[in-house]
């Protein structure tokens, strides 16, 4: 394109021991991770977990208390934002209200002293399907259109890394789905490293190749979305990414490729490969959709494990029915059964047995006094932004 020096690929984005403190509060705590060049990386976490602060440190809008931000071999942590080959799509877009769409998109090029910007801007506007909108003001555009302008305004600079700060948070559900697919398409097309901050687990899983789940300034788990979902590393992850039934249990070591577990007086087992620990206090976890409901213990297929309880609630939600099953020791387990027509509805108040395939269970380390955990972590933003 316009022979920019920054086109040479710089390699991976690496954060090394990155820390940010605001007074006594540690927002980002000794964070280290590598984001491969050209990958779509999502930082997922509840509001206040430090994900936006991390993003702002990469952008240069926040100076790290300590640590490095490396782009290839170059430490850019102390460069001013306008000296970095990094651009941002801001939460609620931050489009310049006094400039029209064309000038908004051309802004970065002009600041770098590029004279003839017309071709580039028009091409970028057509990439985001806003060809005829150059003369409008930001306020005359819909939310989705503004989002696309913000994207074009950042992408036109061909940054090595594009940062997206909750870019779809202001859109309604339908538009958000549409833009998720759109963003993914554009990312594949331009091949730039995308770092996407969000509190929406579904969005992170849909779009990113790699997801990092953040909590209290640290990364709890990092990996491909399916891997994290199927085999979470910690109780927080298990209940932040989707929902899990976690039973407080004691593990007694590995034997024959299986870990034996005792929970609330009953014995279970989990394949060693799905156990983060094999001794001491553990959480025995099963996802609600991995549980099946039957009327009595004789109906449980061979090789499966089960608990017995009373159905206390049944919510019909279309694709599935979500049950609450109160166990003998009082914990209410979630059971999601697909409404495929195979199983009859179980009436509230009746006794029922929930069973699962041990290969779907997992074992997580547990604090000694931590009890059962069955409810999802709330991810509603606290305060204005996350």
């Amino acid at each position: 394109m316009t022979g920019m020096a920054r086109e040479t690929p710089a390699g991976d984005l690496r954060l090394a021991n990155l820390t940010k403190r605001f007074g006594v509060f540690t927002a980002v705590d000794d964070l280290s991770l590598t984001i491969g060049q050209g990958s779509f990386f999502a930082l997922l976490g509840a509001s206040g977990c430090g994900k936006t602060t991390t993003l702002r440190m990469i952008a240069g809008l926040e100076e790290p208390t300590s640590g490095q931000v490396l782009l290839g071999d170059r430490d850019i942590a102390r460069l001013r934002p306008y000296k970095r080959p990094v651009n941002t799509v801001f939460q609620s877009y931050a489009l310049f209200p006094h400039l029209n769409i064309f000038e908004n998109v051309a802004f970065g090029l002009r600041r770098r002293g590029i004279r003839s910007v017309d071709d580039e801007v028009l091409r970028m506007l057509s990439l985001v399907q806003l060809d005829d909108y150059g003369n409008r003001r930001p306020a005359q555009l819909s939310g989705g259109q503004q989002q696309r302008v913000a994207l074009a305004r950042a992408l036109i600079n061909r940054p090595q890394v594009l940062l997206l700060d909750e870019p779809l948070g202001a859109l309604d559900l339908k538009l958000r789905r549409q833009m998720q697919i759109e963003l993914k398409r554009i990312q594949t097309e331009v091949g730039i490293t995308f770092v996407h901050v969000t509190h929406d687990q579904e969005e992170a899983m849909t779009m990113a190749d790699t997801v990092a789940v953040m909590n209290a300034g640290r990364i709890e788990q990092l990996g491909a979305p399916a891997d994290i979902y199927e085999f979470p590393a910690a109780a927080f992850v298990a209940n932040f990414l989707g929902q899990s039934n976690l039973l407080a249990a004691e593990a007694a070591g590995t034997g024959g490729g299986e870990v034996a577990v005792t929970a609330h007086g009953a014995r279970f087992s989990v394949p060693a490969g799905r156990s983060r620990v094999d001794r001491g206090p553990v959480h025995l976890g099963v996802r609600p959709e991995k549980l099946n409901l039957v009327g009595s213990a004789d109906q449980v297929p061979a090789g499966h494990q089960h608990v017995t309880g009373v159905v206390t609630d049944a919510s019909y939600v279309g694709v599935s029915t979500q049950y609450l099953l109160r166990t003998g020791w009082g914990t209410e387990l979630s059971v999601f059964t697909a409404n495929s027509g195979a199983a009859a509805q179980v009436p509230v108040g009746s006794e029922a047995v929930a069973y699962w395939d041990p290969r779907h269970a997992f074992l997580l380390p547990r604090d000694v006094d931590d009890a059962d955990r069955t409810s999802p972590v709330l991810d509603e933003p606290v305060g204005a932004s996350s």
Binding site: K20, F22, F25, T26, A27, V28, A46, S47, G48, C49, G50, K51, T52, T53, T54, L55, R56, L61, E62, E63, Q91, N215, A216, G217, V377, L378, V382, G383, A384, S385, S386
Partner: protein
Amino acid sequence: MTLLAQVPTGSGQPAATPPAARSGRHRLLPYLLLLPGAAWLLVFFGVPLVQLASASLYDPSGSLSTGYALTWAFGNYPDVLQAYWPQFLRSFGYAGVALVLALLLGYPLAYAIAQKAGRWKNLLLVCVVAPMFTSFLVRTLAWKTILSDNGALVGLLRDVHLLAPDGRLLATPFAVVLGLTYNFLPFLVLPLYASLERLDYRLLEAASDLYASPVQAFRRVTLPLSMPGLVAGTLLFFIPASGDYINAELLGTPNEYMIGNVIDSAFLVRLDYPQGAALSFLLMAAILAVVFGYLRRAGTEEVL
């Protein structure tokens, strides 16, 4: 998660960290920006107040031509108070009556613009501010025409026997209070409007849903919620009104003179600086006392 919710949100808090502390140069910047303005205010507002305070303690027997000596003459204060207490009382009396009138006129006006005017809101607001577009003195003189003995208003009032055949409006306390009310009414209405404008009409619906009559809804919901504007408006009205002397001069007679007239003549006619300074200081002290007394009652209890 409650724990997380209590932790200050580390992310997204640009407001908490202005990009000030980047370098030493930036740390000095705010002081450089403030310096000229702050110096101007200090030299031409702060220092003169000190000067006024010391002038009020000058030896009263001095004069401009012979010079003044600072003799810590605290006696100036009781002296001027004894000589001019009627004007002091009149100042606060007139300003107080005008304030009550202004509240009676201004509250419905602010309420109507904020809640009932719909798309006429901005136009009506301009109408409130419009009087200030022309000279204060010229407008006050216009009242002289309106209230004139030969004017239509006086004629009408005489015809309906609200005024005696030789009764007057001009050169009476009524004219002075009317002028004060008129001149400072916009300062009361604007902040009040700002408060009432934010009032969500659904709160009144909720109140009436919860068995409040319209009067109770006003008393229990509208009035408390408009308190900040009411307090600000009251002060913006009362402070200039009690220090005013133009209305008394143009619309009244020496019988209606307020403390401002006395101070004006002390400084500019009689050239008695110690007396004028003492009166000025007393005026300020009295206003501050009234304001703080008022803020204690209205401000802290009801606003906060």
